[in-house]
């Protein structure tokens, strides 16, 4: 499914609206974790990360793991410096009031699977 469609279906707030590519980026896999060492080791390339961790290192880890997007849950949002870094890295950021469990469930229902099954 296209990233843009996922964002629309889940009613996500786009934190990087000027970043191109969401219309074409195909996302088939996802990962949910707040431990960034775990994300680094296990998140699937091209996938979407669901987390409530808003430290700057989310961007560093997500780009190193070659993820396409990060969804921040439970109403948490990173500060502007982090958004700017993500823009520079070409990483899409979204935010939602929903919690991680709810968000992952909805992604799964849309056909976005865990890394091992995608």
């Amino acid at each position: 499914m296209k990233l843009e469609s996922i964002a629309r279906e889940l009613d996500l707030t786009d934190l990087t609206p000027t970043l191109a590519g969401a219309a074409v980026a195909e996302v088939t896999a996802g990962y949910a974790s707040d431990l960034l060492s775990d994300v680094l080791a296990n998140a699937p390339e091209g996938g979407v990360l669901v987390t409530l961790q808003v430290h700057l290192n989310v961007v560093a880890v997500a780009s190193h793991a070659e993820l396409s997007a990060v969804i921040f849950t439970s109403g948490r949002a990173p500060d502007s410096e982090i958004v700017a870094k993500a823009m520079a890295e070409g990483l899409h950021l979204y935010a939602t009031e929903s919690d991680t469990f709810e968000t992952v469930g909805r992604l799964f229902a849309l056909g976005v699977k865990g890394g091992r099954d995608a």
Partner: protein, 251 residues
């Protein structure tokens, strides 16, 4: 000018007391001092979770036998543990007040699960209980916690960075160079002088080995050796910052 003569100072810069919910109830000020002296330490830093209410009492129990530095171990909102060491009991107390007020009040269920948080006097008498839930993460982000410690003249040390839980690398994936740590702490699980220690030294920051003791028998199980003119906080800062010839050696 002749350089100051240096003495070897053994320091364990991360010791909990019975104030920490996970700290053993035997971790009273006089018992900690006895354990530290028995372990051949010259300096300890008392670092309870998100609080500093027993540091003064440990210092008082030590008298002139042992240098006690007032510290704190803050759990940041990222669930990263960082150690702050302060020049005075008062600086630690004021910093701790700012940290504590971000935490909810502990209720009976909390205490049953996490343990008692005893405030003790120098002779080990329990005179009160810390009301805030010290085991929880504060609302302070890593950057805010570092800034807070600095504002009170403190040294900032990334706690047990080799550990899979609450260490900065486990939580944040990469070492955050921009966070402004003065040093990194390795746990008792990493032998001093080992290749693993060398690996962590590659972050370019001084490495300290601390016990993170929650039980008396662990006090001083690892330590850091410093070359200082005197066993004081000021001298320790000089060593960590490699100034005036003060040194920090792998103990």
């Amino acid at each position: 000018m002749t350089p100051d003569p240096l003495m070897t100072v053994r320091a364990d810069l991360h010791v909990h007391t019975a104030l920490s919910p996970c700290g053993d109830d035997e971790m009273s000020p006089p018992a900690i001092v006895d354990a530290a002296l028995a372990a051949g330490l010259d300096v300890i830093a008392v670092c309870d979770h998100n609080a500093a209410g027993n540091t003064g009492a440990v210092g008082e129990a030590a008298g002139s036998r042992l240098t006690v530095i007032s510290g704190i171990e803050i759990t940041t909102s990222e669930e990263v543990h960082i150690v702050g060491l302060f020049p005075t009991v008062m600086a630690a107390a004021n910093a701790a007040d700012e940290v504590r007020e971000t935490l909810p009040v502990a209720d009976d269920d909390y205490t049953r699960f996490f343990g008692e948080q005893y405030l003790m006097s120098a002779d080990g008498t329990i005179y009160g209980r810390e009301p805030r839930a010290l085991a929880l993460a504060t609302s302070l982000g890593l950057d805010e916690a570092v800034e807070l410690i600095r504002r009170y003249g403190g040294l900032v040390i990334a706690a047990h960075i080799d550990r899979p839980t609450f260490g900065v690398i486990a939580q944040l994936g990469f070492f955050p160079y921009e966070a402004g740590f003065d040093a990194v702490e390795l746990s008792r699980h990493v032998p001093a002088g080992s290749a693993t220690t060398d690996g962590y030294a590659a972050y370019g920051l001084p490495v300290v080995h601390s016990s993170d003791s929650h039980y008396l028998e662990d006090v001083g199980c690892v330590a850091t050796e410093f070359g200082l003119a005197a066993p004081t906080f000021r001298e320790l800062v000089l060593a960590v910052k490699h100034r005036e010839g003060r040194v920090l050696a792998d103990a």
